[in-house]
Subunit: 312 residues, 2 copies
């Protein structure tokens, strides 16, 4: 069973449960309006040893930071501010007290950087590998929340940074070379916490999500949720130094933001973003009518079967 | 490092993080007042194969139910209504699609029984065993929330059911006998969801928590948080059929509620509880001044070194 197959099975089985005021599954976070013009958002990520990380290939500090970063990225992708987390961690006997303390140092450093509370969780031992679950909670004014379903035909598609560094770094690590700058980027993702909130406050931003499975895969979630197609210009994908175009389009775990914005306001949005963050918003294509993803080079369609990274 | 040692280390390290409106760690759940006289509560529990369960000794349906039940119990222990969960599950290759579907059947049945939404989570594969994390969210009027810190000297201590069945059932299972009624109780805890909410609405109930580590251990959390002592009458501990007194006092995972209530109102509370639920509130002792736990038989102190179950 694939990850998406199991998720679909869960969704079908649980369709009869009450929602209790929570919005349905499908975005980076679940949403609970709290009534005073504000909502809370919720997300969880589970990391297991040997699947999401190799203990020999990452420092405990890096792993602590990454476990938190991937969740903060999901909150930022909603346009929300991360406010709190619950951390559950299972440690086998061969993970020392020193390892646990160093893991927490990395977790704490990123939490302190973004002012995120640690409000609970669970610690237990494990008969096998290390497992970590982080649940993150964010807040946002209702009007700031960005959903995957809000893209409209003719919107401009932007990404908030160069792509492919993480995928290329993973390739380095899988070939046994851990000390490259790209491998370090893979192990130390920076969640775009300020960027997500800033974009959340801009009404011309329609759909938004974070790039965890790769542009080729993630854009399809926006397409499906919004009932639109997309056309991506291969020449405009910003490729990270040391990565190639295909890795930039299909590699996972870059944790940059993917967003669609009203065409009329896109130029001003990009100019304001550069003013605020000193970095460009990279225009990579357009939302179009229909339901197909097309790739273009020099304005002409190119047939490609590129897919994103499958996490399962 | 023990579980409590690691938790203390985390608490110390993270003491400088902002609280962002959340109350401090220490109760069964973290609390976030949302402003309109209501609060949200949050809790998480992690179950790992070989530590919290043996795959051969539990059905997938039972495990799905138990993973949810232990979290609903924490929400109920605050006097809150469980409204939603996030479920993260890591499955190894030898956990079949059928296993996963049956696990979800058990989870869904309990969620449906108590009207709890499933709003998100994560599914992934595992190189090793099955790991499950459930984060539960509850709601309550601010005035209904019960905390471990609210016990006062002369309060009556109650438990909401007979104790020791789960501990005796675990003993059966560890000796290789899985098909006893007690073993079934261990695998199928019933969270006291209605009882917790009903007790939450009673102002004469002061402190409350759920019995997950055993009365001997859990009462010490109320004592420490409330700066009080306790005296427990051995003759009054309600021992489940098939269990012995020591298991009733020290066994874990009964998931009944432990509460302290104002002495003046305790009789009426117990009568109303019996009217509502058809079961007694069992009076097991008193909160006293000081900071010591004493055991009594026929009104006289008995020296015992009984401790609760250590989960780590």
């Amino acid at each position: 069973m694939t990850e998406f197959g199991f998720i679909e099975a869960i969704r079908t089985l649980c369709a009869d449960l009450p929602r209790n005021g929570f919005e349905g599954i499908g975005d980076d976070c679940a949403v609970l309006p709290t009534g005073a013009g504000e909502s809370l958002v919720f997300t969880a990520d589970l990391l297991t040893e040997g699947v999401h990380f190799l203990r020999a290939a990452t420092t405990p500090e890096e792993l602590g930071g990454k476990a938190l970063a991937v969740n903060l990225s999901d909150v930022a992708a909603m346009g929300a501010r991360p406010v709190a987390t619950l951390l559950s961690i299972a440690l086998p006997a061969d993970a020392t007290q020193e390892w646990a303390a160093r893991f927490m140092t990395g977790y704490h450093a990123l939490a302190a950087r973004y002012g995120v509370a640690l409000i609970g969780g669970d610690t237990t031992c494990s008969q096998t590998g290390i497992t970590i679950n982080v649940t993150a909670i964010g807040r946002a004014p209702d009007g700031h929340l960005k959903r995957r379903s809000a893209a409209a035909a003719d919107d401009v598609l932007f990404v908030t940074g160069r792509l492919g560094a993480s995928g290329a770094g993973l390739r380095d690590m899988l070939s046994g070379t851990y000390d490259t700058p790209l491998a370090a980027e893979h192990r130390n993702p920076r969640p775009q916490v300020e960027e997500g909130q800033w974009l959340g406050a801009r009404p011309e931003v329609h759909a938004m999500m974070d790039l965890s499975d790769g542009l080729a895969s993630d854009v399809c979630h926006i397409m499906a949720c919004s009932s639109v197609g997309a056309a991506i210009d291969l020449d405009r994908i910003p490729v990270a130094e040391g990565a190639d175009l295909r890795t930039a389009a299909c590699g996972g775990e870059d944790y940059k933001l993917l967003l669609s914005a009203s065409r009329d306001a896109a130029g001003q949005l990009a100019a304001d973003y550069r003013n605020r963050f000193g970095e460009p918003l990279y225009e990579v294509g357009r939302i179009v009518a229909g339901n197909a993803l097309t790739w273009r080079r020099d304005g002409a369609e190119v047939l490609l079967d590129w897919r994103g990274f499958e996490h399962y």
